[in-house]
């Protein structure tokens, strides 16, 4: 029956993350160095991401809030696990690896290993309509770290 294929997407670890998301919640106001609210315009899913970057650009703390489907919630949870303690540059590299992975591009196994649990979302390739759900959190990470606003423009020259 048709739903058997669903097991490829809704793996146990993904359901665990969405049922019990890690780092869900806001940081202390003074701790927030980078922040963004992003939306998946197709479905209305929203993620708010807060990051505490140390002076030497290490992700010291991270938290997200928002509503969304199983995929977007678990992806956010797995993303925060993966990047906590990483440098800004490494985190940006991981975001790139993730977005390549879900688009079906080849990547070195070492890069994929870096992603931790998040690598399991490679199965999303067979569910193209859901790729956006998976990438929303990583996209938010990238924008927040680069201090860009929602449409990808630098926050500074907000006209």
């Amino acid at each position: 029956m048709g739903l058997a294929k669903l097991n490829n997407l809704y793996r146990e670890v993904i359901l665990d993350h969405s049922d019990h998301p890690h780092h869900k919640g806001q940081l202390a106001v003074d701790d927030v160095s980078n922040e963004i609210t992003l939306k998946n315009p197709t479905c209305g899913d929203v993620i708010n991401l807060e990051i505490k970057l140390s002076t030497d650009d290490i992700i010291e703390n991270i938290g997200f809030t928002g509503d969304g489907c199983t995929i977007s919630q678990s992806s956010a949870s797995m993303m925060t696990d993966a990047v906590l303690g990483k440098s800004k540059d490494d985190a940006l590299k991981m975001a790139k690896t993730f977005s390549d992975m879900v688009m079906g591009k080849q990547h070195a196994q070492a890069d994929l290993d870096e992603l931790d649990d998040a690598a399991i979302l490679s199965s999303i390739v067979s569910f193209p309509a859901r790729i956006k759900c998976a990438t929303l959190a990583w996209w938010a990470l990238q924008r927040a770290l680069l201090n860009q606003n929602e449409s990808g423009k630098d926050n500074v020259k907000s006209s």
């Binding site: 029956m1 048709g2 739903l3 294929k5 669903l6 097991n7 997407l9 809704y10 793996r11 146990e12 359901l15 197709t42 479905c43 209305g44 899913d45 929203v46 509503d67 969304g68 489907c69 199983t70 995929i71 977007s72 569910f127 309509a129 859901r130 759900c133």
Partner: protein, 415 residues
């Protein structure tokens, strides 16, 4: 169910396919409808025998193309019972028609302090154009609310429509709630205070008989693609005297009378509002869709869909795991049903149903203010049309049951 109507499935080749190894059950008709063979055949015939630009040439193809294009306009005129063909403006779709109105009638007639009244169940296409007009003009945008049963609140409507109201713009049928709104009553309320009434007919005209004169509406906008016509074509109906007073929306070929270097004058209706080359084949295909629907009869179409709702809605309402939005009474419900499976995000639900071959929508359905009003982030939506069958409904119900089981036990069983 009415067999005459059910027998149309063979006219829709797209339905005869497997999706994810299951029979396709297309329940996303509120987004767009499938096309009968006759519609694409009329496009092919036009392109391969008559194709030319219209109103421009004296040669034979140009004359044939012009005749076919204007014949399509007459078909639409009859379908909605407009007073004259000149009241039928071809547009790109509902969104185009409503934006045209906001930029012409709205721009000319809305001033500081005026009020525009819409409802909380409007699609973004009948909401943002008025919201932005109100912002530009320092006018007020007011929303008519819903009754506890999920219908448009006529008491609230009577309160919101005041002497300051210049425009009332309301969906004939909701693309979320499954409600059909009392247009005639709203038209009376609007006209009593000297306002005009604009109707977003996108979700009504494919499903029920519409008579713009009986409804006494001033403007009525709809899309071809939701009524089995091609994409990229729609209609704005308007009363002659109102259209006549409006400035053109776009400028260019075919809408002019005289053009000088520093000024121009405009031609008559309907061409004043059809600048540049129109979607000629699209209009002709829409005319064919109108013929197709007329042939079946809008009464039969409505009756068939009512039978589906009568059969399905009570089952959904009775299911504790399912939340249905909009009226619970099938008699008050069109073939558009918004719902949620408790504890399962509609996006996940839609993916699961898709694995069973069942195509539904999930999201905010271009109605974010309504979602907020209903207190949900998103919903699933199943929407039916004349080619859907009882078998389709049963497939949908089965897929729902299996999805529930999957998310409750499916993968955990595999632990």
């Amino acid at each position: 169910m009415d067999t005459k109507v059910i027998n149309v499935q063979a006219d829709f080749p797209i339905l005869n396919q497997q999706v994810n190894d299951e029979r396709l059950v297309y329940l996303d008709n509120a987004a767009t409808a499938q096309k009968p063979l006759v519609v694409t055949e009329s496009l092919d015939k036009f392109y391969h025998t008559d194709n030319a630009n219209v109103h421009r040439g004296v040669h034979t193809l140009a004359e044939r193309a012009t005749a076919a294009y204007e014949a399509a306009r007459s078909k639409v005129k009859n379908f909605i019972n407009a007073n004259e063909a000149a009241e039928v403006i071809f547009t790109k779709g509902t969104t185009d028609g409503l934006n045209m109105l906001a930029s012409t009638y709205g721009e000319q007639n809305i001033h500081e302090g005026d009020e525009i009244v819409i409802s909380i169940m409007e699609h973004h296409s009948n909401l943002i154009p008025w919201q932005q007009l109100a912002i530009r003009k320092h006018a007020t945008l007011k929303y008519i609310g819903l009754t506890a049963e999920g219908e448009l609140d006529l008491v609230d409507a009577a309160a919101k429509i005041t002497n300051r109201t210049k425009i009332v713009s309301i969906a004939h049928a909701s693309n979320v709630m499954g409600t059909i709104n009392p247009i005639k009553e709203l038209a009376n309320l609007a006209h009593e205070v000297g306002a005009i009434i604009i109707v977003d007919g996108a979700q009504a005209i494919p499903h029920i008989a519409v008579d713009v004169q009986k409804l006494d509406v001033d403007f009525y906008a709809f899309s071809g693609h939701k009524m089995m016509g091609p994409t990229g074509i729609g209609v704005l109906y308007g009363k002659h005297e109102l259209l006549d007073q409006m400035n053109p929306y776009q400028f260019g070929g075919e809408m002019i009378d005289f053009v000088y270097q520093q000024k121009s004058t405009w031609t008559q209706l309907p061409w004043k509002f059809e600048a540049g080359t129109q979607n000629i084949a699209g209009a002709i295909g829409l005319g064919t869709a109108v013929d197709y629907l007329t042939d079946i009869g809008m009464e039969s179409v409505a009756q068939h869909e009512q039978q589906i709702v009568d059969y399905l809605l009570p089952k959904l309402v009775a299911d504790d795991a399912i939340e249905v939005y909009g009226p619970k009474n099938p008699q008050k419900h069109s073939g558009v049903i918004a719902f949620n499976l408790k504890g399962i995000h509609p996006h996940d639900l839609a993916t699961a149903l898709d694995m069973e071959g069942v195509a539904v929508r999930a999201g905010h359905h271009c109605a974010q203010p309504l979602m907020e009003y209903l207190g949900v982030v998103a919903t699933a939506r199943a929407s039916f049309y004349l080619y859907n069958t009882k078998e389709d409904v049963d497939s949908f119900l089965n897929a729902l049951t299996e999805t529930k089981e999957f998310f409750n036990h499916g993968t955990s069983k595999a632990k």
